[in-house]
């Protein structure tokens, strides 16, 4: 094949892909779908099933989650009224600890995946905010409603809260952090978070 027809056939394909990309990127449901599919492909990949590969698998799952989750926003919302009192360094450290804590808590759930179906129920968009409703159907036929809340930043959607069975992750941590902070100090909260994160 001479190069001219090849280019002629590639250019339209490339154009279509280039046109489709921004449209895809602007749809919160597709973004959630992408991340979920990515995670499921890692979890179900038999190459990662061996114990020696566990660490590598965890790293890949974390990467997939980090791409879609806005840890800054999530940590800020969880610390709520106490966020304003913290210095820039404290905030940075807190975001890291918080992301670690959440990932550690849910890693086990993700690794226990055994063929549950994920159904995408719908999305609502309102300006820079959106929510995506997902239903996870277990093998016994029970369904678990999950709702992702997303915020648009630079034409891309990022998750800042997840509700499972109507219980919001941010609200759960917000109440817990608030009760710890009203009883003791911020230092104590960080100490507790660190202990929890280091505890494997």
């Amino acid at each position: 094949m001479s190069p001219a027809p090849l280019i002629r056939s590639i250019v339209p394909v490339f154009l279509i892909v280039a046109m489709a990309l921004p449209v895809l990127a602007a749809d919160p449901m597709d973004e959630i779908k992408q991340t979920t599919d990515k995670m499921l492909s890692i979890v179900t990949n038999p190459a990662f099933k061996t114990p020696s590969q566990t660490e590598e698998r965890e790293k890949l799952i974390r990467q997939a989650v980090d791409e879609r989750f806005d840890w800054d926003e999530m940590a800020r919302r969880s610390l709520a009224i106490h966020w304003a009192k913290r210095t820039v360094e404290e905030r940075k450290e807190f975001v890291r600890l918080f992301a670690d804590l959440v990932e550690r808590t849910y890693m086990k759930k993700v690794e226990d995946y055994s063929g549950e179906k994920v159904l995408y129920e719908g999305e609502t968009k309102e300006g820079d905010y959106a929510s995506v409703r997902v239903k996870i159907v277990t093998k016994r036929g029970e369904d678990i409603p999950v709702e992702y809340r997303l915020k648009k930043e630079k034409e891309d959607w990022f998750v800042y809260d997840v509700s499972i069975e109507g219980v919001s992750l941010v609200n759960n941590y917000r109440t817990q952090f608030n009760s710890i902070l009203s009883q003791s100090s911020y230092e104590n909260l960080v100490k507790r978070l660190r202990e929890k994160v280091e505890l494997k």
Binding site: R76, A80, I81, A84, E165, G166, V167, S168, N171, R174
Partner: protein
């Protein structure tokens, strides 16, 4: 004779008028008291209370009633003004006293007092510098949790 009669009738009419006035005043006072009581007990607002309103959309309010309390840290600060159905979702209007700021990232969740108690709206204050304007929308809402369903999932969930 005629004069006396006329005088007597007039006198009796005066007395009757006094009695009717007293009874009338008593009844009016009674009605006012009754009105006051029913407004107080029914927690109604006739004269627009000084405050503002915020609305929120919930996927399920689980039988929340208009007039239910809105709480922050267990303190009743406002009330549920109206609940209507919009697009098959519950559209709830909450009223707050003037001066109480609700941050933009505050979360409103519908809770039950105890296991089978009344429903109320709980607000967990957020940390955003922006506040919700009067008439604005509280974006973060959590529906009522069906405890019975959750218990059954927990009880029958694991085999």
């Amino acid at each position: 004779m005629k004069m006396f009669n006329e005088h007597g009738i007039r006198g009796r009419a005066m007395k009757k008028f006094d009695l009717e006035l007293a009874v009338g005043l008593f009844i009016i006072a009674g009605i006012v008291c009754l009105g006051y009581l029913s407004i107080k007990l029914g927690k109604l607002e006739i004269v627009g209370e000084r405050g503002y309103e915020i609305n929120g959309v919930f996927s399920n309010v689980g039988g929340l009633k208009a007039g239910a309390g809105v709480e922050i840290a267990g303190v009743t600060v406002g009330r549920v003004k109206t609940i209507t159905l919009k697009n098959y979702q519950a559209y709830v209007v909450l009223s707050f006293p003037k001066g109480l700021k609700i941050q933009e990232d505050a979360i409103a969740s519908i809770k039950t007092r105890g296991l089978i108690g009344e429903k109320y709206v709980d607000i967990t204050p957020g940390g955003s510098e922006k506040d919700i304007e009067p008439g604005g929308r509280i974006r973060e809402t959590q529906p009522a949790i069906d405890i019975e369903e959750l218990i059954s999932k927990f009880v029958f969930g694991k085999i």
